[in-house]
Amino acid sequence: MLEKVSFGVVAFALLWPGFKVVTARNLVHTVFWLGLTLASTAVLFIMLQAPFLAAIQLILYTGGLLTLMLFGVMLTARDQGLLTVPNASHRRAFGGLLAVAAFAMLAMAITQTTTLPASPTAPITTQQLGALVFTEQALAFEVLAVLLLAVTLGAIVFARRGDAGSATENTANSIPARKPLPAPNAAVSQAKGA
């Protein structure tokens, strides 16, 4: 009984923020609600006796992904991240259609796999997971690693392009797009020469 009530609570804590993610008008609020959704998912993992997955969910999704999204919001949005989501009616209709389609697909998938057990009979240990990752799934793991590396490099390239110069290193040579700030006396002597 108590288990069902608590599942209900967690399910609500998962669905309601999920709903808010879609409806929130403020990007930062969206990120916040998304965080709640992801954290609730972690709680669900714990209830399924998969604590390793829960911890990873917290570290990677709630921790890492949210941080990245914050960076995205702060770097792209103007006026302190208060970018509002476009809300035209045809977009709404399109979004709704998409949501209904996705929901239908998921519902079909769920109704058709009736043999899935509520929780695995013997909980998968961390060691098993580790062994799996480094043997059977090694290729996928490595491909993912390469992909992430590429993403990191791309991010650095994008970030460097917008660099205005930093206190510790002179970026004059690496940024052709923006001219470096003049040293105090360079400016003065330029004016003197002019």
Binding site: A164, L181, P184, V188
Partner: protein, 421 residues
Amino acid sequence: MALSTEPGLSAAIGGGSGSVSKSRDGQAASMPTRAFVPDPYLDLARYQADADLLTLSFGPQHPSTHGVFRAVLYLDGEIVVKAVPYVGYLHRGVEKLCEKLSYSNVTPILDKNDYVSPMCNEQAANLAFEKLLGIEVPLRAKFLRTLLAEMQRVASHLLWLGTFAIDLGGALGGGTSVFMYCFRERELILDLFEELTGCRFHYNTHCIGGNRHDIPAGWPKLVHETLGTIDARLDDYLGMLEHPIFVDRTRGIGTLDAELALELGLAGPLARASGIDHDLRRDAPYHIYDQLDVRVACESGGDCWSRYKVRLDEMRESIRLARLLVDNVPAGPISASKPLTNVTQFKITTGQTYVAIESPRGELGTWVIAGGKGTSPLRMKIRPPSLHALAAVPYLFPRYTLSDAVAILGSLDPIMGEADR
């Protein structure tokens, strides 16, 4: 600019600026002449001003603006792109007030200008008045004034060191520890001033013609002991302060070169840190500095670290001078003029003069035009070193981060009381 009238200054510039004449004639022609560039960093065309830059109103109510200084910072991320300083939040109209007060009443008002070294304010004004009146201060008073000035320099630099440490280390960290130690030492000096004058802060101990308070019995011995204690204790915690973190935060930060320092009219420790070997105590002696061998501290880096070094060396030198002076105070009267009995005792009907002394922050000048009824100055202008130091803000802040801006402002050691007057 007041500095350019000082003979020998241009010749005092260290190596590295070949365009400056090395002659000692001190003529204006030998000074580097440049068009004044009001704002060399107004290069906002590269930015979409409202999107790329964060405009930060830094002060006047900010923990590390040393009072009520305000600078509008244009930040690209954390990096300052442009800084516009605003002064005047502490403007008290002192110069105008001095026109209303009689000559004898000006001194206590000026104490509040540079409230970290009030002795020097008093000396600057009284030296000017004495010059106009043609009064020669007795030797004992000269010694006493020199001694007080040097002790005040130690106290002032101690306060600077403490606040600089706070700027770097935060109000809730190791910076506060250094701050507290510095204040502990500074209090010892203030105790001595209290013994002598009866006040810890706004002394009103100098008067036209000399000093108002004579040295009490046993005081010289106390001075000796106290300064010895401070000298020893400084070693105690400088080891802690000069941590690699401190070096990283100060070395190469806020570089100010000699040419720009001259252009802005900087003097004192700021100029000396930039390689301008100039000290009024040695180059235009007053009091009894002509009889003293003042070893002027000079560095060439021009960064926060050099400014720290210069002030520290100065502190040590001042301790040495003060201990030397206190043993040699001659007997005699401490005032050349009759004790004050009347508001209008001193009358100066005509003439004008400019007198500058080396305050802990640099050249503190007083320009007095006498006239009118003769009981009060017709016009009085104070040249505060802090105001000139703040003029360096737009040149020093850009290219550095907000954290460095705080450190740079701290290293400039501005006292808003005297900058705004």
